[in-house]
Symmetry: none
Subunit: 143 residues, 4 copies
């Protein structure tokens, strides 16, 4: 097999993730930076909410990249290895909480990264966005 | 005066610009990368449409930055100076068509950059987004 | 709301901050690098005093950026998270002491960062500069 | 001779250059970014005037660096070689007008770079600053 079938996130999917994350962040009263990347770690969508941290543009994107490349939530690496990985990837691999992969039918289709709040707030917003995405996927299959 | 009053683009404004640009690009049948930055050239919003060029993530963002920093549409610099400016800003100042500033009450509040189509298509999508933004601003003031 | 009102630091404000910081550093007998950035973390003013450390050009600037993006004095992050944040922002977020935000009427208008002395000296110079700025603001409002 | 005497620009000298440049730019009605570097191309002073271009932070600094490293005004290199030099220095050598060296008793002590206006305006502001500096030097020697 020289090629293989795959599943890709669409820009509608990225837009849904961003909107759901913004809604969750607003409900929480914590402005956030939210990044969505595809399986190639390339940016698909981004929103920086009013009052969120400018420097979180970069960290939120890297959380999304880390989740997309590993297929796992960010934050699970041992502290020593985390810094080595960060150094070895020019900072792109991060162990900060707030990055989640998007996995559909066993395919990693991308990742979402949220940053500007506490670690816990960042993670909650990412979880709300992924939950909204999977719910919509599920509704689509049954409709 | 140690401080001065200013106007800032909100993330709702950035979201409206992205949605209007996506709509215009879909109507045109040409997938695009669309970036919105604030007056400090920091990313506020981004969408990469399905089928658009991955490397346009960067060029679209730089078009937005160039328009925001100059307060003018991109593309008006003489060819010789354009390359010098690109080099002197590590590629951030670009003379590619498709970047437009967003100017409200005389304040540059940001810029939009569109890339992945022809120069003409990129510009048209940016123009459609700015027109939709200004129309909504106008409606808001009269409602 | 597609836009929102804001307050910006002027270059006169940045110049006052630099002059007050230089004066405080001279009184202390410790040469310093002093950077002032706006709310978008873009450089507004800078002075490297005779005898201060050349490599502090970068660290002082990053202290200013960190204070401006967080709205808080630098140095308050837990050691573990501090390194992760530094990595995830290519070193721009720093936990070194000596960065202070400039907050006017609830708006973060920028930050000042001081580096080349001990942590305590850096912080004192930044504090003196912010105090001088706020005093002048106060005088302006009552004159 | 293992060492040699030199002359260095002080931060008071850099401050005078910045103030003179700001005054000239204000008289001209054109906001500018102004950078001063020492003979090692390291930043000594900087001011970004209200309304000047954010991306000129970088280009103004590089004009100062280019003038300091060559000992000549920027802009005198042939177009072809200029781009090669820009590429070979990661954009630090620039042929944009607006950079002038500061030469005292045959020693290059640094450079000033001005950017955000037209090439001609940038150069005029740099010239005004250097003239003010040399005038003050001259007054000092005769007082």
């Amino acid at each position: 097999m020289l090629t293989r079938p795959a599943i890709k996130l669409t820009h509608r999917g990225a837009t849904l993730l961003l909107a759901a994350a913004v809604e969750a962040a607003e409900a929480m009263g914590v402005p956030q930076c939210i990044a969505v990347v595809d399986d190639g770690c390339n940016l698909m969508g981004f929103i920086r909410m009013d009052g969120s941290r400018v420097l979180s543009v970069e960290s939120a994107t890297r959380k999304a990249m880390t989740a997309a490349t590993t297929g796992r939530p960010t934050g699970g690496i041992s502290p020593d290895k985390a810094l080595l990985l960060a150094e070895a990837t020019s900072g792109k691999m991060t162990n900060l909480l707030g990055g989640l992969p998007l996995i559909i039918d066993g395919h990693i289709v991308g990742g979402i990264g949220v940053g500007s709040g506490t670690s816990e707030q960042d993670l909650q917003v990412a979880q709300a966005a992924v939950a909204a995405f999977l719910k919509r996927m599920d509704e689509g299959q049954h409709s």
